[in-house]
């Protein structure tokens, strides 16, 4: 998957997790928490969905990389580059 495809996938997961939020104006550089009503259980949903959809394992010590869209895509790129969308 390309970085753009990974971004689309994260957006799709966020739409599931936060169905009431408008994600059109999401700022990739800003922390998710500063823009969306997300708590720790929601972040675990991102981890869980990546595991279920793509068998991507994210160890707890790496959760900090999921702070913003930009940091998430950067972190996931090497893990997901061989996945065919």
């Amino acid at each position: 998957m390309t970085p753009a495809e990974i971004r689309d996938e994260i957006l799709d997961i966020l739409e599931d997790i936060s169905p009431d939020e408008d994600l059109d104006n999401l700022d990739d550089e800003k922390a998710f928490r500063d823009q969306l009503e997300l708590d720790s259980m929601d972040f675990l949903d991102i981890v869980m969905e990546l595991r279920k959809r793509h068998r991507v394992q994210i160890p707890e010590e790496d959760y900090g990389n999921l702070a913003s869209m930009h940091s998430t895509v950067t972190y996931l790129e090497p893990k997901m580059k061989d996945i065919v969308k």
């Binding site: 997790i17 169905p19 675990l44």
Partner: protein, 419 residues
């Protein structure tokens, strides 16, 4: 021996009254439409299909889930929680309580449930089956969704209630048990307002259908709305239903101060246990339970105007309850007897509170809704006062007695008086 507790002789601080209610039933999402459906003999039983079990029948609710919850709330929580949130908000609105200025730490939530957690557990097992039972794909939401207090706790979260909240697990006697618990907590001064009753999400677990089916106790009928037929000679089992009914209960003294409209007073109640079988009822213990409730209210059987039966449409359950009813009400000329499951199916934890709500309007309209779908009364279910297929007018409706019984031999009875 339960000491007589004649309500009228108690101080107002110990008298418990119903000041509001919110409900969702397979045939109505508010009190008026539900009552209207009962008087018009409108069933809420429909064809239904569920994972693994396949096609069956059920009582299905269609309340507006997003009236009080966001889509995210719905994703996070459970169906039982959602039913409870809807009913509790509707009840508060109906009660006319100044909610914004209510001290939320003095509100208690007491929700009767038959079971809780089966739906979510089945869902998760279904999910991990797709991952060769890899438990790392088991949701972190599973525990907060399946803890036994979930259906009450979601109400607290939604409404900012910080008083006590918990569920009362009492099989299919739970709806009455929730009301009784609420009343007891008010009398003890543990809260100033009780949101109490019962809820059911049971149609979303295939296990309940499969288990009743294996027990030869699941109703079938080519016409869905005729499947739930307590007391009929051709009844063949239970129609499982979802739903909820929560009341606002207050001490009479508090209700008077705020000028609340009062829909009835809880004048008698009792809970006891058969201690004889996992599933088969015991009419002696049921009769004892009814008698205890009458004693507590200081009433004779013939003072009861309407008996709302528990009967679920099973062969032995209905006839056993009828033995208990003949024992207590056999000489009561005036008492009328009906059944509400014939319309909505068996709403499990919600059954007791929903069935009571179906009858309470009789205090005003003096009409007794019938038990429907009785083509031929089973001789074992013969009851003098049974109201069959058409509503009956009554000169007097002062007392309603509501039966609700459950597996493991739990029996519950509440008696409500006109106020």
């Amino acid at each position: 021996m339960i000491a007589p507790n004649r309500a009228a002789e108690l101080p107002d601080e110990q008298r418990i009254v119903i000041t509001g209610l919110g409900l969702t039933s397979p045939n109505g999402n508010d009190w008026d439409s539900y009552r209207q459906a009962l008087l018009e003999k409108r069933s809420g039983v429909k064809p239904y299909e569920i994972r693994y079990f396949g096609k069956t029948l059920a009582g299905i609710c269609d309340f507006e889930q997003t009236r009080y919850q966001t889509r995210k709330d719905l994703r996070r929580g459970t169906r039982a929680g959602s039913v409870g949130v809807y009913c509790a908000n509707e009840a508060i609105k109906h009660s006319g309580i100044d909610w914004e200025n209510t001290n939320k730490s003095r509100v208690g939530i007491y929700v009767g449930v038959t079971e809780h957690g089966n739906v979510e557990t089945e869902n998760e097992i279904h999910v991990i089956k797709g991952f060769d039972y890899d438990t790392s794909c088991w949701s972190h939401h599973h525990n907060p969704r399946t803890v036994a207090n979930n259906p009450a706790g979601e109400i607290a979260l939604n409404m900012g209630i910080t008083g006590p909240h918990y569920t009362i697990g009492a099989a299919c006697a739970a709806g009455n048990a929730g009301i009784i618990q609420g009343a007891q907590m008010l009398r003890l001064g543990e809260c100033d307002l009780a949101i109490a009753g019962g809820t059911s999400e049971s149609i979303h677990t295939f296990g309940i259908f499969a288990s009743f089916n294996s027990q030869n106790a699941l109703a079938t009928h080519e016409t869905p709305e005729k499947a739930s037929r307590p007391f009929d000679v051709d009844r063949n089992g239970i129609v499982v239903a979802e739903g909820g009914c929560l009341y606002t209960l207050e001490r009479l003294s508090d209700a008077k101060v705020r000028g609340a409209e009062i829909y009835g007073e809880l004048v008698g109640y009792a809970i006891n246990t058969d201690a004889t079988d996992f599933v088969l009822p015991n009419p002696e213990r049921q009769a004892e339970c009814i008698r205890m409730a009458l004693d507590r209210a200081g009433l004779q059987a013939d003072q009861i105007d309407i008996v709302s039966t528990h009967a679920t449409g099973t062969s032995s359950g209905d006839s056993q309850e009828c033995i208990a009813l003949r024992n207590i009400f056999g000489q009561s000329q005036h008492t009328r007897i009906n059944n509400t499951k014939s319309y909505i199916g068996h709403a499990m934890g919600a059954a007791g509170s929903l069935e009571l709500a179906g009858n309470l309007p009789s205090f005003k309209d003096k009409t007794v809704h019938p038990t429907i779908n009785v083509d031929q009364v089973d001789p074992d279910c013969h009851l003098e006062g049974l109201v069959i297929n058409d509503p009956q007018e009554s000169k007097r409706v002062d007392y309603i007695l509501n039966n609700s019984f459950g597996m493991l031999g739990i029996n519950s009875v509440v008696i409500i008086s006109r106020f």
